[in-house]
Subunit: 256 residues, 4 copies
């Protein structure tokens, strides 16, 4: 029976600044990637978001990012693998303490933004991040872009590793995401986006921009929590997936 | 048999900046208060300091501070008890992850600088900090200025609570430290400083600036790790205490 | 003929976070207090806000705050007068460079949040801030709470000093604002708020919470740029003031 | 008559952290590159360093860096030209205000660390930085690695542009510095270092690692202010240059 996790970035508010519609989105997703204060988030936001996720029975994930608040962790920085290891350990710990205090459990770790993108292509960075996860708590599920160095590093270390796919992004023949600088990078139509996800989950296939079918593993689908239509899309994709017979469940409950 | 712990602030380097002679001081102290990135320290420094402390078999402590790097956490900030709780939970978690990754165990938590000073006098802040410790891990020893609100809050919550004394500070009749703005706040002579500590440990007494003897509990003595004579004093106080029959041991090994 | 300036805090967005409806509010106010990156704002936001203010012919002001982004500069910090001086000089400079690059001119300086509140009551802090303004550019108008230490310090240094009043706050018999912790601190009704302003501008009087009339100087009125009804109130107060014969103009054009 | 400027990074202390021997080094250099709080430095340090430089009659320069305090601005970040422009404008302004307040004058701007290195090779970044200098104050001298995109951008905009050489680095045949990852990148012997500088200043030539002589313009030489032998080398190079008939003077006094 086809099964998939739906994950979303959460806890990205900061001080007086509010971002995202976390409380509402949490009704639709099964895993929450919670910012840890480096690219977004702050201690108060982390506590509140963890509490909400526990109440709504959503899998809690650490979402470690680069130390770049003004750039929202989206600007690549030339950090060493050791630096990547250190900042991931730090952020896993910070979130874990709130989860412990609220009586919950960490489910997964998903690197954020530029850290995620750099590590997807850089084996050494990927290894360093996976090692941080492994050394702090090897029970945590490790998220990486399907087919990327992150997934390979997770497997090498023996972590339960989730292959992540994107509903609103197109793919290249080599399995990578089409760069956002290219015209067809984004899928804006909700129906097309969901059809792509259904096929990735049920057939493990996606049609590349070059027109050929490629293999892809889809353990978890990333959706967005901010923007005008985020909530509509969250509602739409969950009901569409269920209608087509796909079970939606937290990654920790089914990933081997 | 008289017994006491000797603690020192550690891991206060930051990026390209080096502060303190941690590796050398660790040979003399039994508990290390490790900065967590808010008032000092950074992820790399935390990892290295934790590793050193484990190697030298020194009790590892979290040293959470105010979010004020340029002020080294020494400027009072009007934070709410909830904010104090949040930033202490965060910092306990961040350090705990490094300790976990290096195979060690957290022994204690000691608030830093202005956070320590404000909470010593403010019952609500003290309670919030103690609660943060309790909720993340009630096995940790909680440090507070002897006789202060921190110690009271720790006891109320049922935490193992250590009364801390200072070797180089004078005391007022009410048991508080003489303000640094007063002329006789500091004891600069090493011999006088050590004599005061020995009396506090053996007789639970200290002579106040007003000339009377007051009761004081001395579970742990704070010494400094930076400055010209830090290492000399560390060497001197440890040998002087031992000579007079006082056992020096990590607080976690003897505090009830 | 009665004349008054209307000022509003601006440029408080930060990185991916948007705050306030600056472009729209700028159509109604005559002076903009632009955040400088310490409590809010960032270099890109500063550049854009300066550009907008120049286009809309609004007086440009520096809005220096405490170094507390997560607290939005609203938490009092125990900084020394020298530290206050330094951070005000720094922030005046940072904004001035954008104003220079865009071909504009700085009109005024208004301390933000907790820095404003602390200095209103603390003569030494007020003096240090006024001195920072004076030493960088004595042509700038200096804003302070009407009757406060800020206004006194500005006058002592010979700065053109603007007495600021608040439309939505009530006053105590001694001329101070009613603390936000008191029940009647805020005036939520737009009509009452505007009536209070009109009387302050025309008669230099306000009725205190104790029921007596007190003298108050009203060179500039502060209104808010965020929140649901900010734009409505901006529109309402400007038209109401004009209808009653009050001229609204940038402070730099009329203050002596 | 041969003439050259000697510049050194300054004002890199931060809060409780001290770095460099600024006061002593200032006796030997003719231009000081002062950190502005992004990669190092803080408002208090900026004020003190500016004051010292004025007292010692050393040319004052802005030393803008990437927003990466923990990395000391040495880690490349994928910032856009617009972001580079914004952060350079901001930092020029911040330092300028201290210079204004202390009664001095800004002489030059030299980008720091990774910003300097990235812009040396990237024409768009170089252009953006040069434009920031131009728009805030076109009288300032612009520093760039000799032969680099920075120097080209400075010339294109009509800025007085100084070609900078390094005493302790070796050069490649294309005029670039040998990467620090290569074995022969650094010249550790003081005599060899100074001989290289003398030849660059007098003959506009340097011998590349490939053995051939290449042309190089040497308006200003960079020396280091921290490390064991910084002061010795500063003393040595200044006396050696003078002995060989080279005048040492602030760049602003002779560059056309």
């Amino acid at each position: 029976m086809p099964i998939v996790d739906i994950n979303c970035d959460m806890g990205e508010s900061f001080g007086a600044y509010t971002l995202g519609r976390d409380a509402e989105i949490l009704d639709f997703v099964t895993s929450a990637n919670i910012a840890c204060g480096f690219h977004a988030g702050d201690p108060a936001t982390m506590r509140k978001t963890v509490k909400l996720a526990i109440e709504k029975n959503v899998g809690i994930g650490v979402h470690p990012g680069l130390p770049d608040l003004v750039g929202f962790g989206r600007r690549e920085m030339n950090i060493s693998p050791q630096e990547a290891y250190d900042l991931v350990v730090y952020q896993i710990g910070a979130l874990s303490a709130f989860v412990k205090a609220e009586g919950g459990k960490i489910q997964h770790v998903k690197p954020h933004g530029a850290l995620f993108n750099m590590a997807a292509k850089n084996a050494e960075l990927a290894e360093a991040i996976a090692e941080a996860v492994y050394k702090v708590n090897p029970e945590m599920v490790f998220f990486g872009l399907a087919g990327s160095e992150l997934v390979k590093a997770g497997h090498r270390l023996g972590l339960r590793t989730a292959s992540e796919v994107f509903s609103d992004r197109t793919y290249q023949e080599d399995g990578s995401l089409t760069s956002r600088r290219e015209p067809n990078a984004l899928i804006k139509d909700h129906e097309t986006a969901v059809r792509q996800v259904i096929r990735m989950v049920k057939e493990s296939k996606v049609t590349s921009q070059q027109g050929s079918d490629i293999s892809i593993k889809a353990d978890t689908v990333c959706i967005h929590g901010d923007g005008e239509s985020a909530l509509d899309f969250a509602r739409y994709i969950t009901s569409a997936l269920k209608e087509t017979g796909i079970t939606i469940a937290s990654i920790g409950s089914f990933l081997k």
